[in-house]
Subunit: 173 residues, 2 copies
């Protein structure tokens, strides 16, 4: 699908069919996640792909009420920051790297006909801790965002124009 069309038709999907996602498409989505710009090319992320249904249910509990779509998802992808890769001058830039990775995956999935919803984890400290414990993450790996992914029950291909001119300023405020 054309990129501008993908950008304009993407909508969060919270309700999925039972169809699974093949490994080839999972890899395509992850590759997109690894293809974004990254602070001094440090690529400060790691990914946990959750396919086990029982674990998806537990992940939905760990990440709070908005994470319920994980229960019906084909899989979840947790994007983590990797603190062993951060640059000491700016230790928080990993947050941006992780966001870029997640959004690239949202768009790649949409292009493949796969719906997703973005479930924020970081910086909600309780969610970060719960998810970290559940998935047995090392100390230096910080959960940032979970994507719930699956084939949408109602695919959206309607382009939305979400431009708001009053949110744009030219040259100075």
């Amino acid at each position: 699908m054309d990129t501008l069309k993908a950008l304009a038709t993407r909508k969060s999907v919270r309700s999925f069919t039972d169809e699974g996602i093949c490994f080839e498409d999972i890899k395509r989505i992850l590759t997109a996640g690894m293809s974004g710009p990254s602070c001094v090319n440090m690529r400060m992320w790691s990914f946990v792909v959750v396919r086990n249904k029982e674990l998806l249910g537990k992940l939905a509990v760990a990440n709070g009420i908005y994470a319920a779509p994980l229960r019906g998802a084909a899989l979840g992808i947790l994007v983590c920051g990797d603190l062993e890769r951060i640059i000491p001058e700016e230790p928080d830039f990993w947050v941006v790297d992780a966001s870029i990775a997640a959004q690239n995956m949202v768009l790649a999935a949409h292009d493949l006909g796969i719906g997703s919803v973005w479930l924020g984890c970081w910086p909600a400290e309780d969610r970060v801790q719960e998810v970290k414990e559940l998935l047995k993450l090392p100390e230096t790996i910080v959960p940032h965002t979970i994507l719930a992914l699956g084939y949408p029950e109602k695919p959206n291909m309607t382009e939305r124009d979400l431009y708001e001119s009053d949110r744009v300023h030219f040259d100075e405020w």
Copy 2:
């Protein structure tokens, strides 16, 4: 251009031709920025489009050494967080909204044949303050990311495979 191709061929562009970007394309890029997922749909961002050459030079100084590509750019787009739109329970989610907006714009630009480089501002406190003063931003508007945009001197259409299997874990770490 196909979305997966756009994701795989995007490369940071730091050297631009003298060609300007028409207003229609600026608006397409901004629309993409406003089309990403947003925490409880609060759309916690604002944008400052900098076209004035003298101001671009000053912005390059304000945002530190890596911001030099702004000097030769057709324009810069500053993505800001809007603290008047944040949700009190999670005051830092604006950081993710702003990152999503910027990455959507990077991809829309690439699709239009326009190159960009992502220049991190937040959370570098000195850059945040300098940029805020230069562009006369209100107290509640926080500079997050600057994109330098322009037509690339050497457009890249080579697909890169940046997948690293050791950065992916399945079900548990």
